[in-house]
Symmetry: C2
Subunit: 248 residues, 2 copies
């Protein structure tokens, strides 16, 4: 069997997230169906990690094993012919026999996009969180760099992550910055790995700060060892993009 | 009654065009429903012109008459609360009593967007014509300026425009240019007015040229007096944007 590495872009609006769920459209399930047609057998696709329902990807990475000897360029074209237009294969490569997109990922970058003008253009509506309210935007720029470093991110984990309660919530954030592009605030974060809902919770906490509901010191305290999970504003899925996944 | 002037942006993907059609979602129909809720009476909305099913607008202009004394800023906010997110009111102004968005329009600008890369990003799929085939792109840049000037555009009128067969097809194109932005070719045209399907037919004819199916001289001949309607490639609606409408 060959090991194949895919780079995939998707508009997550119409999908119930990455992971296969019986009877619901998912990114993984759609890829497995299309690859099954090409392979004429069941194909299991592994991703670099799950994305939630409604979250988008500029360049998700996935892998599968195939017996079919189709050249990678033809495989890319065949998949793009068979897939719906909201999932696109950017590239296909031969991977090492043991390539595993999740275990071998060294870093991931996410962006969270917030639209600040009163009117959100119709063409942006699926790809931003429209938050036009009067807030202290400086609080975003002050808060974002505080997340950088190695911290216990328990306070920013998903409330429902029951089965991983005992697993370490320590992660390293390599860079964490807020940018402005016209009417859009963009939070860009690159790290070793992310807990479920973590980027949406990091962003939601900054939104709470910008509304005056939390101080910089209170945010710092959430990053200290022993901090408890905090019921924070989780920013909606539609503003979140998986930008890239890095391998050694 | 007050006369109200609206500037409206919409994603036309989910609509059967501008004009009211019984039982089908249209831009005009949706605006009339929302304004009817605010006015508590039937409201007729007039646009600067129709857009076809699937065509988008960055800044369509429309007008209606209202008895309701609501200030224009509140009217804009109320409409944006009631409208679906794919139709947005950019601005609302008091208009002259006799303001008519169609009869008084002095110029309109349209853009047609063509995506040239093999892979069309999922986030662009509703807003471009994906045409990745090998063509002579120079033909676009050579052809576009030929449309400028006052011509009889009969050859570029919609095939089904039966009820206006005797009406003049002479229009003035003030500017007509092809631009490139990354993977996107953009045809931008500004004119006194446009026939039904005219911009899609101007674009489709340039696509025919770029594929070697027509020469520059043959295109010039289509602009001569007495030229007949030509069965040309009509570029799909999704790539077309009404960019702006100008008034004296």
């Amino acid at each position: 069997m060959r090991r194949i590495k895919f780079t995939i872009s998707y508009d997550g609006t119409e999908y119930h997230g990455w992971q296969v769920q019986p009877g619901l459209p998912t990114i993984q399930g759609t890829l497995e169906t299309v690859l099954g047609e090409i392979e004429k057998a069941g194909v299991h696709v592994e991703g670099s990690g799950r994305t939630d329902a409604g979250v988008h990807a500029l360049a998700q990475v996935a892998a599968c094993s195939l017996a079919n000897p189709i050249p990678v360029d033809n495989l890319r074209k065949a998949m793009n012919r068979l897939l719906p237009a909201d999932i696109r294969i950017i590239s296909v490569e031969e991977g090492a026999d043991d390539f595993h997109p999740r275990f071998q990922a060294k870093a991931k970058t996410y962006e969270y996009r917030i639209w600040r003008d009163e009117v959100c253009p119709p063409f942006q509506r699926r790809y931003v969180y429209h938050f036009p309210y009067r807030i202290n935007e400086d609080a975003f720029f002050a808060a974002a760099p505080l997340y950088a470093g190695t911290h216990d991110f328990t306070a920013f984990a998903a409330a429902d992550e029951k089965d991983e309660l005992r697993a370490s919530k320590v992660r390293t954030v390599y860079s964490s910055e807020m940018l402005r592009q016209g009417a859009m605030l963009i939070y860009r974060v690159r790290g070793s790995g992310f807990l479920k809902h973590m980027v949406r919770n990091l962003t939601g906490t900054m939104i709470d700060m910008s509304r005056g509901n939390m101080s910089l010191d209170e945010l710092r305290a959430l990053l200290q060892p022993g901090a408890q999970r905090k019921a924070c504003h989780s920013a909606p899925a539609r503003g979140l993009f998986l930008v890239s996944v890095e391998y050694p």
